[in-house]
């Protein structure tokens, strides 16, 4: 797929959770092979928007979603769409790392295994490749069989990224993925995002404007469940068209 072609296309999306109208009339095209950041104040619906992309709301009670979310032209809310197939296409990196309760190796091999890869040689190749892709290989190659929970929190987050990549997704969703990390780990993860956008479309939720500025090509500003402004990073941060955006980004000094 060529760069800048829409990868996720959201049409007339409305989300209600427990009677509250969380997302209102969302229409947006998220481009391929770029980093798009969703910014906005707490409780504005950023995370809800991100989670509608891989249907994680399905596990919560009383959530109503109307409208369409097209990924590669396929409506993921179509009742005929296989949910595991949708989720396989997207890797999620959550706020805090939640390694699976197993070894480092098995964490990365988990996804490929459930999707049918059984051969040890194949799994070895995937594990090594993804741990290298997330700059973790040199740190863990001698203890692949030790528990993933013994890694530092920054290493765990990179492991979770490797685990997500091992499934072979096309899109990476990051939900404030660096908020629990120290500055060094944060910068490693940010560098990875920039590097990974050559091969993946990346959508990040962040409340750190500087982070959005450092890593993203596009910014979506969400306020009170609506998209207020959407554009190139430079433009949204330096020359916002909307009053609300101006208010929100004025703390950001270049």
């Amino acid at each position: 797929m060529t760069k800048d072609k829409a990868h996720i296309s959201v049409q007339d999306l409305n989300v209600h959770i427990g009677g509250n109208h969380i997302l209102k009339d969302i229409n947006i095209d998220i481009p391929n092979k770029s980093v798009t950041s969703i910014i906005g104040p707490s409780g504005c619906g950023k995370t809800t928007l991100l989670k509608t992309f891989n249907r994680l709301h399905d596990t919560a009670a009383d959530v109503k979603v109307t409208g369409k979310v097209l990924v590669d032209g396929e409506d993921i809310y179509d009742p005929n769409t296989e949910i595991t197939h949708i989720r396989k296409k997207m890797g999620l990196l959550s706020q805090r790392p939640y390694p699976l309760p197993m070894s480092i190796y098995d964490n990365v091999a988990y996804g490929p295994r459930i999707h049918g890869i059984r051969k040890k040689q194949d799994l070895d190749i995937i594990v090594e490749k993804q741990l290298k892709a997330t700059a973790l290989w040199n740190e863990v190659k001698d203890r692949l069989n030790s528990s993933a929970t013994r890694l530092s929190i920054g290493q765990q987050q990179r492991l979770c990224l490797a685990r997500g990549l091992a499934v072979g997704p096309e899109i990476i969703l990051g939900d404030e993925s660096t908020s629990a990390l120290d500055p060094v780990s944060t910068s490693i993860i940010e560098d990875l995002f920039v590097k990974l956008k050559q091969d993946y479309s990346i959508v990040l939720v962040t409340h750190i404007l500087r982070q959005a500025a450092r890593v993203s090509d596009y910014i979506i500003f969400v306020y009170n469940g609506r998209i207020v402004e959407y554009g190139k990073t430079e433009q949204v941060l330096r020359d916002p068209h909307e009053e609300l955006t101006k208010e929100y980004v004025k703390g950001y000094i270049v």
């Binding site: 891989n54 994680l56 596990t59 919560a60 009670a61 009383d62 595991t84 197939h85 989720r87 396989k88 997207m90 890797g91 999620l92 959550s94 706020q95 805090r96 939640y98 390694p99 699976l100 309760p101 197993m102 988990y110 996804g111 459930i114 999707h115 528990s147 929970t149 013994r150 765990q156 979770c160 685990r163 997500g164 499934v167």
Partner: protein, 281 residues
């Protein structure tokens, strides 16, 4: 100021007293059993079944009851676990849209938890009569299984609820089905499963009312599920009811054995839980 200090002192005194009564009772109970039972605590008690005239003070031991209790408690815990794990998983991971039903089920299990064990014994007995079973190891296991299921379900339920939702989301995001996600959750709660097993085993081995009608009693070690089986609590009950001093003494020795078994289980569960949680984040 003086009044407040007195008040502080008074309530502190009450708390220390209450703590001493509780702690003291424990030592008093264990001490009494030890004092009365230790003289009769012979190697034969642990390794022999009752010999001729055991109940009038002649030789033998209570190996039949020790083994019988292990069979009943072990069998009931295994059977209970096979039923309880799916229930706990289902309530927590498949009833997302049915919160009300899930909570109603939890309440039902809480009520079952509170039902006295004699009721389970009576119910088990009715089932046996219906199927034409006689008092047997199988009958005892079934009645005690009914007794431990609510304990197991509620313990596992609490443990599953300690697993962060984000871990489930992580597994789901990788394209896991619900069952595959449930397997990840089961891995995460392994220490909790061990705790549940030990709590259930401890409760099952000490219960007398559930096995009273259902397991029967026998001086022999059961060799099949259809033979009656002796259990430690019932053995203690019979021995203490004897007018003969030596048999009563053996009753205390049996109580000592049961207490030690339960103590070992408790300590073991503490140790195992600590060992497992060391690997948790």
């Amino acid at each position: 100021m003086r009044r407040r200090n007195l008040e502080e002192l008074f309530f502190k005194f009450l708390m220390v007293l209450a703590t001493l009564i509780v702690g003291g009772s424990f030592f008093l109970i264990v001490g009494t059993i030890f004092y009365k039972g230790a003289p009769y605590m012979t190697f034969d008690m642990l390794t022999k079944i009752p010999g001729g005239g055991f109940y009038i003070g002649k030789e033998g031991g209570i190996l039949n009851a020790i083994i019988g209790s292990m069979y009943v408690a072990g069998g009931a815990t295994i059977l209970g676990l096979i039923i309880s794990i799916p229930v706990a998983i289902y309530i927590n991971m498949y009833m997302d849209g049915q919160k009300f039903l899930a909570n109603t089920l939890r309440m039902v299990f809480d009520v079952l938890f509170g039902i006295p064990s004699i009721v389970y014994g009576a119910f088990g007995f009715l089932i046996m009569v219906y199927f034409g079973l006689r008092a047997s190891l199988l009958g005892g296991i079934i009645a005690v299984t009914l007794l431990v299921i609510p304990i197991l379900v509620r313990t596992l339920d609490e443990v599953i609820r300690t697993v962060p939702l984000e871990l489930r989301d992580a597994a789901l995001s990788l394209g896991s089905t619900r069952w595959e996600t449930a397997k990840v959750v089961l891995r995460a709660i392994r220490p909790g499963i061990i705790t549940a097993i030990l709590i259930s085993f401890g409760r099952a081995i000490g219960d007398v009312a559930a096995v009273l009608f259902t397991a029967g009693f026998s001086d022999n070690i059961p060799t099949s599920l259809h033979e009656p089986a002796a259990t430690l609590p019932l053995a203690i009950f019979f021995q203490l009811g004897s007018p003969i001093e030596e048999v009563q003494g053996r009753g205390y020795a049996s109580a000592l054995i049961l207490t030690i078994v339960v103590l070992i289980i408790t300590i073991l569960s503490e140790l195992l839980v600590k060992k497992f949680y060391k690997h948790k984040s």
